[in-house]
Structures are given as C-alpha cells and as structure tokens.
C-alpha cells in the first residue's frame, strides 16, 4: 500500500481490475467528507458565526485533546487492540501534574506526567501482549483501578497552576493556539508513521492476521506494548493540554467518558472494531465531525441532551454504512 491517501488497507488501488470501483464504493468513501461539508453548510445557514476563522480555531482547541488521544488510539485499534482506560489515565496524569508543579517545577512535573502516562500504557501493554489477556478486560480493569488511584492521590480538586504553564492553554504562536499546534503535530506524526515508516504496515498486519504476523517474524509483543505505551504517552500530553485550559485537575470528573468519545471518533473515522485497516486522516475527519457537531449545536442553542443524541445517531449511521459496504463485497 504505497498511497498515503485516505484508503490505506481498505480498498485496492484504482488500477485494481477486480475491485468494484463503482459509484457506491466512491459514495461510501466520500460520505465522511461530504457529511462534514453538509454539516458545516447547515450550521452556517442556522448560525452564520459558525463559518468564521475564529470559530474554526475554537473548534480546533476544543478537539485538540481528543485528537491527541484519538491518533495513537486509532493505531492501537488498527492493530486489533483497544484501550478503555484512556479517560482514567487522563485523570491520573492531570492529578500527577497538578500535585508535582510545586515540588518539581514545570519541567519536572511535565516530564513526570509523561512518564506516568507511558508507564500506565506499558502496563496495559504487558498484560495484553505478553500475557495474552483480552484487551477489553485488561483496560476495563485499569479504567476503574486508575480512576480510583487518581481520586486517592487527590481527594479534592487541585487548581491554581503556575502561570508559565497555563500559557499553553491560551497563548497563540504564529496566529494559532499552542494547543492547535500540538494537535497538528500529533496528526503529522500519526500520518507520517503510517505512511512512511516500515512500522506502519506492521501495525496493521497485527490487526489483519495476528498468527501470520507472528510467523513472518514481526515483533508482535514489542509492537503491542509500544502501541499501548504510545497511547499512554499521548494521553499524558492530552492531560497537560486539558488542565492547562481549565486550570484545575478534578480527579473525579477529569476525562470521564473520554474513552467513549475517542472510540466514537475512531469508529466514525472508519476503523472497524476488529482492526486490520483504517486511515489516520479519516480518523482526523471523524474527530473533527464530532467537534463540529458539538460546537455547531451549541451555537444553535440546542440543548445538550439533543446534542448527545445526535452524536449517537451519527455513529450508528456511520457504522451502518460500513456494514452495507461489507455486505456488497
């Protein structure tokens, strides 16, 4: 798969003589970008302020943390694994950062937070890849365990972080918020890894056929642990992004339900629950669709309940499209 385009591993190349490259296939491929375009148009008509540069920058800030987690999460899912503990890990990392600013200074606190995230990911990875346990069970366990740990470390919400740290949350560089830049960097990294590095196809190979991946000599365990560690690392990054924006780290509520938003975004991005294919750029679109949806509905003064229902509906429609496509082939 030498293309860096939107269809990595999913459909064949245009040259492919046997593939049914008919209008249906194209329509499914175009569904996500089209949905975004139509939705943007709809919001623009209903609330013209939606279509302003500032609002789009605001959306990017709102989705920045979600995006930062979704990209490594997408790779994990492509490899046929899953991490349900991302929300709790986010809380733990936020709490660790909040508690360590005073004793360690900003640099120390940031490094410690990143280390904690990475280690949590590695622990998940060892249970799943080395011991061969079910990813859902392991990370469902750590989801609860780590949330408890975070609350135990910080029974009361921590707030009031150093000003030098908070600039991450509001400062702009070259016209864009720092948070947006971080998000763009993570996207670039994800796209680059999958498109240019030899590890890209190896990750997908794990999701396509684990036994074959082992037999052809891929480092199945190392790749698995590495993916979990990377997810943990970027969850820590997202935690720092989040707490810098809200200037507090409430152990009980920080990152609640993030695993579900991430999963929704990634599935919207066309990665099947069973892994084995997917494209980073499509996941970016999936995250963006979610962000746009919540932003636009707020601008239209739609109540939160309705907004939640819409999100759920969008996911089901996307999944239905995928099933339809699978049926046809």
């Amino acid at each position: 798969m030498t293309d860096t385009g939107l269809t990595r591993g999913t459909t064949g190349a245009p040259l492919d003589p046997k593939a049914e490259k008919d209008w249906f296939e194209l329509a499914v491929a175009a569904a996500l970008p089209m949905a975004i375009a139509l939705l943007a148009l709809f919001f623009y008509i209903k609330a013209p302020v939606f279509m302003t540069v500032n609002n789009w920058i605001a959306i990017s800030v709102q989705v920045s943390a979600l995006m930062t987690i979704s990209i490594p999460f997408a790779l994990l899912l492509m490899a046929g694994k899953i991490d349900l503990s991302v929300g709790s890990t986010l809380a733990l990392c936020g709490v660790v950062a909040g508690l360590s600013f005073e004793p360690l200074g900003i640099t120390g606190a940031v490094l410690l937070t990143l280390a904690v995230g990475t280690v949590v990911g590695m622990i998940n990875g060892v249970f799943v890849s080395s011991l061969g346990m079910s990813p859902i069970i392991v990370t469902l366990g750590t989801l609860t365990l780590i949330r408890g740990l975070a609350q135990w470390l910080a029974p009361n919400p921590i707030f009031g972080f150093p000003e030098e740290f908070l600039v991450i949350g509001y400062e702009r560089v070259l016209g864009l918020p720092i948070l947006t830049w971080i998000m763009l960097a993570v996207i670039g990294l994800g796209v680059g890894v999958m498109a240019l590095l030899p590890i890209g196809p190896q990750i997908v190979a794990l999701g396509v056929n684990k036994r074959a991946a082992f037999l052809v000599g891929l480092r199945v365990k190392a790749i698995g642990i590495g993916l979990y560690a990377a997810t943990g690392f970027f969850v820590a990054v997202a935690a720092l992004m989040s707490i810098s924006r809200i200037n507090s780290a409430p152990a009980g509520t920080l990152g609640i339900g993030v695993e579900l938003s991430v999963l929704t975004a990634v599935l919207l991005g066309g990665i099947p629950f069973t892994g084995g294919k997917g494209s980073v750029l499509r996941v970016v679109l999936g995250v963006w669709l979610l962000g746009m949806l919540s932003n636009g509905l707020i601008l239209m003064n739609v109540p939160t309940e309705l907004s939640l229902m819409t999100t759920g509906l969008v996911l089901i429609v996307a999944a239905a499209l995928d099933v339809l496509r699978a049926r046809r082939s």
């Binding site: 030498t2 036994r211 052809v216």
Partner: protein, 522 residues
C-alpha cells in the same frame, strides 16, 4: 419415480464490474452420479459454486432442479430445494459436540429443549449410514482430525436429505488415507440415497476413483464433459492448463559436497521426536506422514514458532534454540506455513505489502524510511520470477487465486538479500492448481540450485517424491524412516500407515526395511 432428478445449469453468466468470470456455463448432473468438476484457479469454479448455492446471484442464465429455478434464492432456500454445498474451508465449530455440529440450526427438540440423546442417536445413525463407526457423536469436534471433520460436514449436509451435494475440494487438506475414507463415505451416500454429487478437486488422481463424468471449466466456459472412462489424467491436465507439463523436473540424484548446514540430533518438540537428520546446502528433505503425524509441529519448531523441548539443532555449525520466528529468520531459517488464509496471507494487504511485510524495517529493506520504489521493484522481480498473475503490486492479497497468492508467500523468502539458508514449506501446494504448482516447483528447483536447503512437508506422496532428495517418514511424531532419493510413492504411503498402526501393537521396528534405497533407520 419417473426420470431421475437433474441439477442443471443453463447458460449462466456472471461478471464483476468489467471482469467477466462466467461466460455462459452449461452443466448437468443426475441423481446417483458423481460429476468431477475441474478447472485452474481463477477459471471461475468458486463463482459458479457461489451462484448455485445462492451465496451470489448470476447476471443471466438459469439453475434448475427438476425444472424449478434456483435463481434469486438465498442459501437457506437453495438448501430447502435439496441442494447442499460443503465448502473447502471448514464450517464446523469446536467446543460443540459432533452431534451438536450435525444438528446445528435444526436441533431436535422435546418440550422446547434440545433432546441431546435423540440427537446423539440420530447422529450415530447418520454416521453409520456413511460407513463411519469410529466417531463418537458426543465427542468434542475439536478432538477430531480434519478428515473426520469433513465427514461430520457431510453428515450434516445429508441430514437434510438433499438430492444434490456439492463438494468443494473436500480432500484439500486430507492425507491419502483420510481421502480414501472420504471417497468411501461419498460412494455410500451416492449408492444408498441416490444423491447427485458435484465434486470439485485439484487432485486428478482422485477422479477415476470417485467420478462418473468429468467437466472441465476453463476461462469461464465449459471446455468439455466426458465419461470418466474415456479420459486420462494427461487429457485432464492438458485441458485444465495447456501450458503445464507434468513431465516433472529433471531430477538428478543429489550430490553431497562440503559440510552439512542443518543438523538435527535427537531433536524433540511436543509429542514429536527424537528427530535426527543432517542436510547439505541445496538438499531437499521431504517430510511425509499422515495428518497428525507431527509434520507441522516439526516445522514450527525449526522455524521458532514452537518450543524445542530437547536435543540439538545446529545451523552452520552453531547450536541454535529459536524462541521466535524472528530469531530463526535472523539465522536464515524461514517458514511458509500451511493454511494460507489463517497463517500467512494478509488478506486486505496489497500484493507488494504481503510480499515485503516480513522485511519491513530490517535488511534488505531500509531500516528507517520506506522506499516505495524499491518495494515495487522487489515485487516486479518476484512477479517475473514466479509468474505471479496478475502482476499488479496494488491488488489485495485476497483477490489473488490460491496459486498466485501462494507464489507471493513463497516469494517472501526468495527476494534478493533475504539470506535464507533453510526454507521450510508446509503443504506448499494446498489449494494450488497444476499450472501454478509447476511454477512453484520450478522456483524451488532454482532456490535449491543456489544452495538453499529446503524442508518440505506434504501429505501428497507424489509431491514429496518429485521434490525431495531425502524423505523422512513420520508416524505419531516418531521418525519412522529416512529414505534417500525416493521414487516409490506406495512405499511412503505404506510406511506412514504402518507407523500409525504399528504404534498400537508394537514398536516402530515393526516397519520393514525391504527396500534397497532405505537409508538410515531411526
């Protein structure tokens, strides 16, 4: 009871996009007859079967059972019309008992609950009707061998009392003995219940044992249909793929020169062993044995996929104990696993990625950044070398025919700079048509000339005799015999069978050493 029932296919056409697969197929089979249905990979056999079974709908044409059309029916409805199909890939479920598998979806109920006792009883009756009395309906399907699983599938199909039974390569993963038993089962079904059978196979030597008529499909058209008595194997080979010459490779007795590269001494793994053999560069060792004799286990051990439990393995004079396939590959030992779909092919990957996945990020491919030009160049070379059709690097692995997919699997270890010293092949021509088979054999001959040692395990004695300089016969995990320059298939088959039974009433010494060509005995 007037005229015998007939399953008829009339002018069936089917295309996918611009690719025309079936170009007007006419076919007929009568009740009580076995029609062997042959064709190279990609000739359209699977498509035709799918159209008949209701899995796909044809574009035009008709499929008739006693003048009732099957067109547009779904698989379940086709079943109800009395046409059962048994696919090449097993559709039985481990964890359920034999009887539960047979009655799956049609359970016998009593008062709302499944009546296991009745199911077991009827399953036994069904199996006995097929002449099989050594399968316990209560046993877990997981404990059955592949041959027995096929029998269970047939029993399940027959339970619905079909008029026609379609078998897609039923003997593809069976040993000769299991195949023979299966033929007997099919004959029983035909003789007792007057079933009409369409029998798809790649094994031409089966045809005269089982079929009444032979039909050849080539390029989406029926080439001819003839009574089996009027055709020879050569006729069929020629018809299926006119380019394939079964004259065999020019095989000269292997000349050992220089030191051995591969050396096994009392090697054991799981229930297999002790195995002792030494191989020279360019020597081909064939491993023959029945299903479950330990062929796959031995290859898995050598390739690092399974643990070595004892003895010594030396590669190039150094003792090795591989803990993973990767470790083995680093020492130049690579495996082409059996069961392509499950164990080696990445279905959704492009051809070029399928070829190069094992080499991503390590020599001879670049370590850091992928080099797409080099990748397509490597595929081009492989495609030319083994005649991979179509030579399209972007085509998904699952879209290649079995033979061409297998060529890609083997090519993985033949790319320049792969540095393979010992190539292990497990059932390398399973589900591969004659033309592709021959191309694979030729590629292996070239590998051999270049000094790579090859170990090939197969349940096809003909293949072993064609390829191997030395044959090891396995029986119940034991090394039964080591034969130089094998050419006597019957001997191999006999040895393998005796080994299975010999273990019951004696030791492996019971095996006769009647032939002059017998080498070292274990």
């Amino acid at each position: 009871m007037t005229t015998p029932a007939r399953l008829e296919v009339k002018d069936l056409r089917k295309s996918y996009g611009s690719v025309v697969v079936l170009k007007g197929v006419d076919l007929a089979v009568e009740a009580g007859q076995v029609l062997a249905f042959l064709g190279a990979n990609g000739a359209g056999k699977s498509t035709l079967l799918n159209c008949v079974s209701g899995a796909q709908d044809a574009d035009t044409g008709d499929i008739l059972v006693q003048n009732a059309s099957l067109r547009g029916l779904n698989p379940r409805q086709v079943q109800d019309q009395g046409v059962a199909i048994i696919y090449q890939h097993f559709q039985v479920f481990e964890g359920l008992s034999v009887a539960e598998n047979i009655f799956l979806g049609h359970e016998i109920r009593r008062g709302g609950r499944v009546d296991r006792r009745a199911q077991n009883r009827q399953a036994r009756a069904l199996l006995e009707r097929l002449g099989v009395d050594d399968i316990d309906p209560r046993s877990d399907l997981g404990s059955l061998g592949v041959g027995e699983r096929k029998v269970v599938e047939i029993a399940r199909a027959l339970r619905l009392k079909p008029k026609f039974l379609i078998l897609d390569e039923p003997t593809a993963s069976l040993s000769d003995k299991e195949a023979k038993a299966l033929h007997e089962v099919i004959r029983q079904a035909v003789a007792r219940d007057g079933i009409g059978v369409i029998y798809v196979t790649h094994f031409l030597d089966e045809i005269h044992k089982i079929a009444d008529q032979v039909t050849i499909l080539r390029d989406g058209r029926i080439l001819w249909t003839r009574p089996v008595a009027e055709v020879s194997i050569a006729d069929m080979t020629d018809a299926i793929s006119p380019d394939a010459l079964m004259t065999g490779l020019d095989k000269t007795p292997f000349q050992a020169d220089g030191p051995e590269v591969v050396w096994m001494d009392d090697l054991t793994t799981g229930f297999v062993g002790p195995i002792s053999v030494a191989l020279h560069p360019g020597e081909v060792l064939g491993i023959y044995g029945l299903m479950g004799a330990g062929r796959t286990e031995l290859l898995e051990c050598l390739s690092g996929a399974a643990a070595q439990s004892g003895g010594t393995l030396k590669i190039d004079g150094t003792t090795r104990k591989f803990r993973s396939p990767r470790e083995a590959q680093e020492q130049g030992v690579a495996l082409v696993a059996s069961d392509r779909k499950e164990q080696s092919l990445f279905a959704s990957f492009s051809a070029v990625e399928n070829l190069l996945v094992p080499h991503m990020g390590r020599s001879p491919m670049p370590r850091m950044l992928r080099n797409f030009n080099r990748e397509s160049l490597a595929f081009e070379r492989a495609a030319r070398r083994l005649n991979i059709q179509p030579p399209n690097p972007r085509l998904q692995g699952q879209r290649f025919s079995g033979g061409n997919a297998q060529k890609i699997m083997v090519s993985r270890w033949l790319i320049d700079g792969a540095g393979v010293k010992l190539l292990l092949l497990d059932e390398p021509t399973q589900g591969v048509d004659i033309g592709a088979r021959h191309e694979l054999y030729e590629a292996l001959a070239e590998v051999k000339r270049k000094g790579t040692t090859i170990i090939v395990a197969s349940s096809d004695a003909t293949e072993i005799c064609l390829l191997a300089d030395k044959v090891m016969v396995l029986g119940r995990g034991q090394q039964v015999a080591l034969i130089d320059n094998p050419h006597d298939e019957e001997l191999l088959i006999e040895l393998a069978h005796r080994a299975e039974h010999g273990a019951e009433h004696g030791t492996q010494q019971d095996v006769p050493v009647g032939e002059t060509e017998m080498g070292a005995m274990q």
